[in-house]
């Protein structure tokens, strides 16, 4: 029993550390906090649901973006539209660094700078996969905590 409690405590500690680092390093912003605040008894998996939606959306959009960039000539309007969507979804989830990458990408789009776009896409993908893995890790931890019978620490 004690062991079990220790486990939970450790997991909770890990969780809060991870959350802290996520916010501290700018992966996430206050929007994510808002998401968490929206999660309640009626909506127990709201955050993970939204984030999953975000992942799906993002995978699709990134694929689209890759395709759009390979095409010749590049349809910058379309590209911009994709990035705009991506920006919208990332900002609504609070994936801050992805959002910033999107902003940079849009700037390049405005200038019709292909090389810049490709570079940005790489950066964006990088950021995206980073935040994805981090979030998955977070959710994994949360699941573990819940399955261990603990409660999630409240995020300020």
């Amino acid at each position: 029993m004690l062991n079990f409690a220790m486990d939970v405590l450790r997991l909770q500690q890990q969780h809060s550390q991870l959350t802290y680092s996520l916010f501290n390093e700018g992966f996430l912003d206050e929007q994510f906090t808002q998401l968490q605040q929206l999660q309640d008894e009626s909506n127990p998996d709201f955050v993970s649901e939204v984030v999953a939606l975000f992942f799906d959306d993002s995978d699709r959009l990134l694929e689209n973006l890759g395709k759009a960039l390979e095409k010749e000539p590049i349809d910058y309007k379309k590209l911009d539209a994709h990035v705009h969507q991506f920006k919208g979804s990332s900002s609504s989830v609070g994936a801050h660094r992805v959002k910033n990458a999107c902003i940079a990408f849009r700037a390049y789009c405005d200038e019709n700078d292909r090389a810049g776009c490709i570079q940005c896409l790489q950066h964006m993908k990088h950021e995206y996969y980073l935040v994805k893995s981090k979030l998955q890790e977070l959710f994994h931890l949360e699941e573990e905590i819940l399955s261990a019978g603990g409660t999630l620490p409240l995020i300020e």
Binding site: F23, G26, Q39, S42, N43, F46, V50, S89, S91, A107
Partner: protein
């Protein structure tokens, strides 16, 4: 940058690093975004510039070329003109000369012919006559001598001699008369040296030896010849005879010819006369014996000299003439020596070619050369004009003269010079003149061309310069325009970033410990950011105005409320500087037409700018904002047209100041009519006066230009970028008004006074609506935050019937209602006014004086008690007087100025359009009434207005003072109003509220508008005309901290800052309210039972919206795009209507949808994203609206936009949406809007 530094410092202190990072990110983005936009725009500009430059170069080159070409053409034209001119002159000259020559030659021909014929005629006549005479004489002699033998000398002497003398003396031109006998007898008369001489041969033989018998010729030489003088009259010989030499006439050819002549004609011959002159002899034979054998010959000698004389007398124009025989021997000539050589009987004639006259010789030679056969001259006239004699040209004419069987030639030689010479000379002169003329013309044309070229060049340069100038202007204009557009374009990004910063600060505030230093820092950060936003907004406004993109957002609003808000805002700021900010509504005309339609935000902006300027530049004194209604325009006669028109006219006539402006006003009305359609307009005039350092007169115009500050760059102590007044002017112009700086009343007075007028439409608020509005505001004021008193103001607009009703009631009962008309003077109310601040005191005093009997001013707290003392005295005196006489008239009303009197009768003459006016008939009733009241009894009502800052010592003392003063139990009806400042310690306020101090009302300075109305209510309470309850409500409303409605209103103003100035203390309050409010809202399920449809393409956002709404208790349905939304809504509407019908048929009563579980619900609200694939939000909205029309239904649609721009919002509204929200959906704005929707619904259902 200030904001940036703040951000860092605050964040370091905060220590919550995630937010710090977020802020930094946003900040960085903000600046980088801005930079990029600027760069891009600059690049864009430079490209355009180069393009336009190229075009210009081309244009100017073309222009130069065309100018060159036109110049060249004109030069060529000029040259051609000159050439043609010269040629024409020469041709004309040539033809004229030719013609003259021709006519002259005709004349000369005639002349020459005349000359010739004359000569011919003369010659012929002379010689022919002589020939005839000779024949006749011969006949005469022959007939007379027929009897005698002529051969004897005696016969000769007796008979022949007198006959001859007769002939000699009678026949003209005869120089010598001869008789030559065949036998050698000879008699002749002749003239020598004027002596008549006779020459004869007598019988005396000189040589008798020589005898030739039978041969008559043989005698001839033997006769002796004598010459003897004779009498000129008788012919008889005189003197002695002198023997002289003979001449053998018988041997001459002409003698023989004459003897042998058979036909009886005379013959001719030439001979030398005795006087050695050439004679032309006319010979006739004397046939005395037989016609076949003449005995002798009679000859008449005509001297050639006569002919010569004759021809010399001709005017030959310097020419010569000669007479010659056919074979070229000269007979006579003009000029030169004429020699005849040879013997007397055999003269040797000179050949014409050898004549002594070189001209004659030359002419003869010319004739010989010219004519092969010289004898031709004898047959025909001849003329030659090309003779050259001695280097001169001559015309030679000849004509034959036929005479006595022989022919002579008459030649006239005339020098060409004498005929043509004059003309030629003239011609030459003309030619020379012409040439000179041509040369002059050439020179002049050259000069002209030179000048033309130079002028052309200059013009070309000028035009090139002009084009450059034009281009420069255009470029500058374009640049300016581009800049403005760029500014306007940047707005979105800049504002978004700034909004994010503000939002982040907002977030930080949640976590902060209340009252900590960090909180203060955050507040300051927030205010800085808001300042920045305000600054940005003002820059954007300028650029928008200049790019002419600014549009007025017209809504109904209460102008008094706006004015109060603005003044409130600045009074707090000014308080710190020790400056008063006062609102002066002057004649209260603004309150009467307070509900107007216009852009409240812009009006606020104008006022904010002016007030902030006033506060900024005023270090002591006051800033006064005045507002009054200047004119009201009626475009359409109302239902009670005659009535209102009458009032209108009365209004004009009663205000003499306006009378002069009537025509002007109507003109303005006409000018305005294009904007006004069917509503009434009101012209407000505003004045912002300060006591600052003022603006120099010469700068009065330039202050309204953008980026101009009066003290230039040196003013480091004043912030701002000099845009304020520029914006103000632009906005005022946009609203149809004009702004100017007016001179203050006294020349030495410090400060500035801005005056401007604006036009607004009078809002169409009927009584019913306004009442509805009041109900609604009571019900919903928590949500929509409209303060109660403001709504109650909407009662001010009445229609005509209502006005009439009120007029009646006021006449009968004498009571007056607040707000909508000027209250009657309260005679028995005395006011003691003890407050700081000169300007506000004066205004308050003025206001109170219009309403109360007497207002006493207390300047120092020490004066308070003495003032009360005075008052008491006065009242006592008055009451005494009142008891003495019923005819008492209050001194106040006697002394009061007409204006005050006017005000006291306001109620009687108040018209439907809200302009106060004085009607003569209303005068009496008012005063009558007041007198009445006076007589009935003296009761003194006291209103004490005390500034809490004025009191020295604890405020509790006032009750003591009052009771002491009047004596316990005798305290008259007394109300105490406390004036508090924003910085009044809350402890004191609490004290006041607790009731330990007599306190009926606490008012925050500045005292105006609603607060004045609260005071007025108190005054009415004093006169016992108003219920206590109403007063409480009013009073509570003016205490901002106690009522949530006011609190909410303040929050609203924080959410949407309209000016660059935000007060720290206000904000602090707001912060705490915000947090409280948020918690409160979170706990409630405010959207319980609501059905909401969300149309959003982005899955994440959709989920987010769903979660947010669900948490608030709403039932949510989500769709991906507009088309689905349209489909769902239309299906729903359809089924609902169908069901409704079913219900109607079955139950016979309509039921509300929410009450009936069977009936499908209809969405209460639609949240619509604007940009969606397949069908966007605008289109979907339009379709839904169409669909709704069929069912007569209206679902409120809220647009979700990524852009917070006004135009985006306008687009949404145009598409039929009701509201719009910025994209990341958040709780508070949504709730606000939902609140509004509910309010409307309720209003409808009611």
């Amino acid at each position: 940058m200030g904001a940036c530094i703040w951000t860092k410092e605050t964040m370091n202190a905060l220590g919550s690093e995630n937010q710090q990072i977020a802020l930094r990110h946003v900040g960085k983005n903000f600046f980088s975004d801005t930079d990029e936009k600027f760069k891009k725009n600059v690049q864009h500009h430079s490209e355009e510039e180069t393009a336009s430059n190229g075009w210009l170069m081309k244009y100017s080159k073309t222009l130069q070329r065309t100018t060159h070409a036109s110049l060249f053409h004109s030069v060529i034209l000029e040259v051609l003109l000159v050439i043609v001119g010269i040629a024409m002159t020469i041709i004309i000259w040539f033809f004229a000369l030719k013609h003259a020559e021709h006519s002259v030659s005709i004349v000369s021909d005639a002349l020459r012919g005349e000359l010739l014929s004359h000569a011919k005629a003369f010659t012929t006549s002379v010689f022919e006559e002589n020939c005839e005479s000779a024949i006749h004489l011969a006949h005469l002699i022959a007939s007379s001598l027929i009897k005698d033998n002529l051969s004897s000398f005696s016969t000769l002497e007796n008979q022949m001699k007198p006959a001859l003398f007769q002939g000699y003396s009678t026949i003209p031109y005869t120089a010598q008369v001869f008789y030559m006998g065949k036998n050698g007898l000879f008699v002749s008369y002749y003239t020598d040296f004027n002596e008549t001489l006779i020459l004869y041969a007598n019988r005396t033989y000189t040589d008798s030896s020589m005898t030739h018998a039978g041969d008559p010729a043989s005698y001839r030489q033997r006769y002796l010849w004598y010459c003897q003088k004779a009498s000129a009259t008788t012919g008889l010989p005189l003197g002695e005879a002198i023997p002289t030499g003979t001449f053998s006439f018988w041997g001459t050819k002409w003698f023989r010819d004459a003897l042998n002549s058979k036909n009886g004609f005379a013959t001719w011959g030439l001979a030398f006369g005795q006087s050695k002159e050439l004679l032309f002899l006319s010979l006739a034979s004397i046939k005395d014996v037989s016609p076949a054998d003449p005995s002798g010959v009679l000859a008449l000698g005509t001297p050639m000299r006569i002919l010569m004389d004759f021809i010399t007398h001709f005017d030959l124009l310097g020419g010569d003439m000669y007479l010659a025989t056919i074979d070229g021997y000269l007979l006579a000539q003009t000029g030169g020596a004429f020699h005849v050589g040879g013997e007397i009987d055999k003269p040797i004639l000179l050949e014409a070619t050898k004549s002594g006259n070189p001209v004659v010789a030359g002419a003869a030679l010319h004739l010989i050369n010219k004519l092969k056969n010289i004898s031709r001259l004898g047959n025909e006239t001849f003329s030659s004009s090309d003779a050259r004699i001695q280097g001169a040209s001559y015309i030679v004419d000849s004509t034959p003269i036929h005479l006595a069987g022989t022919t002579m030639v008459c030649v006239v030689i005339i020098p060409c010079k004498s005929i043509w010479g004059h003309m030629e000379k003239q011609g030459h002169t003309t030619l020379i003149l012409l040439i000179i003329l041509a040369a002059c013309m050439l020179f002049i044309s050259c000069a002209f061309i030179f000048l033309l070229t130079r002028a052309g060049n200059r013009e070309m340069h000028l035009s090139a310069a002009l084009i450059q100038q034009l281009d420069a202007t255009k470029q500058a204009e374009r640049k300016n325009n581009q800049k403005n557009i760029a500014f306007a374009r940047m707005s979105h990004d800049l504002r978004t970033s700034l909004a994010a910063i503000i939002g982040l600060i907002d977030l930080c505030h949640y976590d902060v410990v209340e009252g900590s230093e960090l909180e203060m820092n955050l507040l300051q950060m927030n205010s800085c950011a808001n300042n920045l936003l305000g600054l940005l907004n003002s820059i954007l406004d300028v650029s928008k105005i200049e790019a002419e993109k600014l549009q007025l957002d017209e809504t109904d609003f209460n102008i008094v409320q706006v004015l109060e808000e603005v003044v409130d805002m600045f009074s707090v700021v000014a308080l710190e500087k020790g400056v008063e900010v006062v609102l002066d509504l002057c004649d209260d005309s603004a309150e009467k037409i307070s509900w107007i339609k216009g852009d409240a935000g812009r009006l606020k902006q104008i006022l904010c700018n002016l007030l902030s300027n006033g506060v900024k530049f005023t270090s002591e004194g006051h800033v006064i904002l005045r507002a009054w209604v200047k004119q009201v325009f009626h475009s359409k006669p109302s239902v009670h047209g005659g009535h209102s028109a009458q009032h209108f006219r009365a209004c004009w006539s009663c205000m003499p100041k306006w009378v002069f402006e009537v025509s002007n006003a109507y003109k303005q009305l006409d000018a305005f009519s294009e904007v006004q359609t069917d509503s009434n307009y009101v012209e407000f005039e505003f004045e912002v006066e300060d006591t600052g350092k003022g603006i120099p007169k010469d700068k009065h115009k330039s202050v309204f230009e953008n980026f101009v500050q009066i003290d230039g760059l040196t003013s480091t102590n004043h912030d701002g970028i000099g845009l304020g007044l520029g914006i103000v002017r632009s906005l005022v112009h946009l609203m149809g008004g004009n702004i100017k700086i007016v001179d203050k009343g006294e020349p030495g007075e410090k400060g500035t006074c801005f005056r401007f007028n604006l036009f607004f439409r009078i809002a169409e608020v009927s009584v019913d609506q306004s009442k509805n509005g009041e109900n609604r505001s009571l019900g919903m004021h928590v949500l929509n935050g409209v303060s109660l008193w403001a709504k109650s103001y909407s009662c001010e607009k009445y229609d005509v019937q209502d006005w009439q009703l009120r007029q009646k009631s006021s006449l009968t009962s004498g009571t007056s209602e607040p707000h909508w008309q000027r209250p009657a003077l309260k005679e028995n109310v005395f006011v003691v006014l003890a407050m700081n601040g000169e300007a506000s005191k004066m205004i308050l005093k003025k206001w109170l004086e219009h309403r109360c009997e007497q207002v006493l001013m207390v300047n120092q707290w020490l004066d308070f008690i003495p003032t009360l003392e005075n008052l008491k005295q006065e009242v006592l005196v008055q009451s005494l007087r009142a008891s003495e006489t019923s005819e008492f008239v209050s001194p106040k009303s006697l002394l009061s100025d007409p204006w005050v009197d006017d005000m006291s009768h306001q109620g009687d003459t108040f018209s439907d359009y809200g302009v106060n006016q004085l009607s003569p008939d209303g005068y009496g009733s008012g005063t009558e009434e007041s007198k009445q009241r006076k007589v009935n009894g003296v009761s003194m009502h006291l209103l004490v207005v005390v500034d809490i800052n004025m009191i020295v010592g604890p405020p509790e003392q006032i009750s003591a003072i009052l009771s002491n003063f009047f004596g316990v139990g005798q305290v008259p009806i007394c109300k105490v109003v406390w004036l508090a400042n924003a910085n009044t310690p809350s402890v004191e306020l609490e004290n006041l509220k607790r009731g330990s101090v007599p306190c009926d009302l606490i008012l925050h300075k500045p005292v105006h508008g609603s607060r004045l109305h609260a005071v007025w209510d108190l005054v009415q309470d004093l006169s016992g005309k108003r219920t206590q309850q109403a007063s409480e409500i009013e009073a509570s409303n003016v205490l901002p901290q106690t009522e949530s409605s006011d609190e909410h209103f303040r929050r609203k103003s924080f959410d949407r800052p309209t000016s660059s100035l935000v007060n720290f203390k206000d904000q602090k309050q707001m912060w705490s309210e915000l947090t409280q409010k948020d918690n409160k809202l979170r706990a409630q399920n405010l959207l319980e039972g609501m059905h909401i449809l969300v149309a959003e393409d982005n899955a994440v956002l959709r989920r987010l919206a769903q979660a947010t709404l669900t948490q608030l208790g709403a039932t949510v349905k989500c769709v991906d795009d507009g088309e689905q939304a349209v489909q769902i809504v239309s299906e729903m509407l359809h089924s609902r209507i169908k069901n409704n019908k079913d219900f109607l048929s079955s139950k016979q009563c309509p039921l509300k949808s929410s009450d009936d579980p069977v009936q499908p619900y209809v969405f209460d609200i639609l949240l619509m994203d604007c940009e969606m694939p397949i069908m966007d939000g605008y289109e979907a909205t339009r379709r839904i609206r169409e669909e709704e029309k069929r069912y007569g239904f209206h679902i409120p649609i809220i647009a979700l936009t990524a852009h917070a721009m006004a135009e985006e919002a306008r687009r949404c509204i145009q598409a039929g949406m009701d509201f719009h929200l910025p994209k990341p959906l958040t709780r508070e704005p949504l709730l606000n809007i939902v609140g509004k929707i509910c309010a409307e619904k309720e209003a409808l259902e009611l």
